[in-house]
């Protein structure tokens, strides 16, 4: 039996990840002051990780079932608004000085947001998405319609105006590291984002369900031929993705310290850019893409504010010119 000369070992493609580090490193001389750089970098990582939490579900749903949900923003919005209600109801906890009570309140708000967003996700999949599997044009249209309806329903329930979402006392303010002010909330966002990332990676790589998802992203038909009812799996992934979006909505709302019904549509563009950069269907790509977007947005926001939104598109174009299918394209596509 002939053996090829040398089969390359399972190589981990570290280049895109190195890109993140390189970007951060490049930022330092451009920004000048190390303390400002540190603040901006943490802000960028925090924003990036929040976007990752939101977008991770979307990219898996697309990778697995070829469904692009233009209405993903609905889950973000509902998550954010549910948080306002929960935190409002837990006023005692959110106004207390105790860090534990504050964190507890936020934790409860997150759970509630995830539960509600997940439930809406289940309904969304059933009513809006399921009838249009495989029909891309209709998917785009109908999920947009779903978002319109969702946004209006939020206005029905919570009213059309902006609602403030203030941080509880323990999370306000910043840590001082030398000259740099690092906002406490951003640190929390980074930690949570990394926890979600780790949990996702563990599920995908160490459980059979995760194995099914990764296989299904490459070849749905073969997974079915092996005897697995992948439709059921899809519903599960969709619901999980919606729940994550809801969690992201809470994080985003706290980041902005206010929520508006259009919050979903606002973040939509950003998450699409992230998943295109990352490669549709790749969780790790989504992670790296989100970090890049977060850093770029914050660095350009400081260095050249007028160009801020363009910077993300320019980043996307640059990455696509280098790797046309995204940073970590999934093999089958």
């Amino acid at each position: 039996m002939s053996t090829p000369a040398a089969i390359p070992k399972a190589q981990f493609d570290w280049i895109p990840l190195a890109l993140v580090a390189a970007l951060a490193a490049a930022g330092l001389p451009l920004i000048g002051s190390p303390s400002t750089w540190l603040t901006l970098t943490v802000a960028g990582l925090a924003m990036g990780l929040i976007v990752f939490v939101i977008a991770s579900g979307l990219t898996l749903v697309f990778g697995l079932m070829d469904v692009l949900n233009f209405g993903h923003g609905v889950f973000i919005a509902f998550g954010a608004f549910v948080a306002t209600s929960v935190l409002g109801a837990m006023g005692v906890w959110t106004t207390s000085e105790s860090a534990w009570l504050n964190l507890g309140a936020i934790f409860v708000a997150m759970l509630a947001a995830m539960a509600v967003a997940g439930a809406i996700g289940w309904a969304f999949e059933r009513v809006i998405v399921r009838p249009v599997y495989g029909l891309h044009l209709k998917q785009i249209l109908i999920t947009m319609g779903g978002m319109i309806v969702g946004e209006e329903m939020i206005k029905v329930i919570w009213g059309p105006q902006q609602i403030p979402l203030p941080l509880p006392p323990a999370l306000r303010g910043a840590f001082l590291v030398g000259d740099a002010a690092i906002e406490k909330y951003r640190v929390l966002a980074v930690v949570l984002g990394l926890v979600v990332f780790a949990a996702l990676l563990w599920t995908l790589n160490r459980t059979k369900v995760g194995l099914l998802v990764r296989a299904g992203v490459q070849d749905r038909e073969m997974v079915e031929s092996l005897g697995y009812r992948i439709r059921r799996l899809f519903v599960g992934v969709f619901v999980a993705g919606s729940a994550l979006a809801g969690l992201g909505g809470v994080l985003w709302g706290l980041y902005q310290q206010s929520v508006v019904p259009q919050i979903g549509a606002q973040v939509n563009v950003l998450i699409f850019i992230v998943i295109i950069i990352g490669g549709l269907g790749s969780t790790f790509g989504c992670f790296v893409g989100a970090l890049l977007v977060g850093l770029v947005a914050n660095y350009t926001g400081f260095l050249a504010p007028k160009v801020a939104l363009f910077s993300n598109i320019a980043l996307m174009v640059a990455i696509l010119l280098w790797r046309p299918r995204g940073l970590y394209p999934v093999t089958s596509r």
Binding site: M1, T3, R214, Q218, E224, G227, R229, V330
Partner: protein
């Protein structure tokens, strides 16, 4: 006793009428070869059995029960394993992960039946060597071995295998023949689509020849192997010829 029976099966793909009334018997415990030139409908037949395409007419019964209209996972769960022409290897997953997936009852790789795994490694040593490598990096022959290995990692009632030898070096083909011979010895039921007639002759107990979406000849392999005129008429060349 026939494990699988197709009667008058028609399959349409969109506007195209591919199968025009296929009658096929696959007896239990034997290797049935499905032969025919390109475009005869062999792959379509396998996919129809597997439920990937739905028969528009006719019956497909497995162990006496109808498969028509059932979703593919359900058909697979009745004990039918399918190795498609494209092999269906998950390139980003390791060999280990591919096998774990194929072993439905195993929650993790460690839970795969060790004895069975050893047996498979005996048939296909390369899989043991490249156990932790991404399957996409294997050579064509190795991928084919993995595809077959996945189909047999757990006992199955029926194996549907589509052109396993396509594009492979003769030495690898020998490897596959040995593996199939062992399966045969274990009384596995196999429906094997092949264009490699040396392989067909070596393995087949029964043979069915397709043309234009129909089965035009069915019978014992030995019979066809001896009748060169028949071979010429059905297949355009003889089974003994160099392949």
């Amino acid at each position: 006793m026939n494990l699988l029976e197709l009667k008058g099966v028609h399959t349409h793909i969109g506007a195209y009428h591919i199968l025009h009334g296929v009658d096929l018997d696959v007896p239990e415990g034997q290797v049935t070869m499905l032969l025919g030139r390109n475009g005869a409908g062999k792959t379509t037949t396998l996919r129809t059995i597997m439920g990937l395409w739905t028969a528009s007419q006719g019956t497909v019964s497995f162990e006496g029960q109808s498969l028509v209209g059932l979703p593919t996972p359900e058909i697979a769960q009745r004990g039918i394993a399918y190795v498609p022409e494209s092999m269906g290897i998950f390139g980003d997953l390791t060999v280990r992960e591919n096998m774990t997936l194929a072993a439905r009852s195993a929650a993790r790789a460690e839970a795969i039946d060790a004895t069975r795994l050893e047996w498979i490694f005996g048939l296909f040593p390369a899989l043991k060597k490249f156990w932790l490598y991404p399957a996409g990096k294997l050579s064509g022959g190795q991928k084919q071995m993995l595809a077959v290995a996945r189909a047999i990692v757990e006992p199955r009632r029926l194996l549907l295998i589509d052109e396993p030898s396509k594009g492979l070096a003769p030495s690898i083909i020998q490897n596959l023949i040995s593996a199939f011979r062992e399966l045969k010895a274990q009384k596995s039921s196999i429906l094997l689509v092949e264009q490699n007639f040396m392989m067909a002759k070596a393995l087949g107990d029964r043979v069915a020849v397709m043309d234009d979406g129909r089965v035009v000849h069915a019978g014992p392999m030995a019979e066809l192997a001896e009748d060169e005129a028949l071979q010429q008429r059905l297949l355009g060349l003889s089974l003994g010829a160099h392949q």
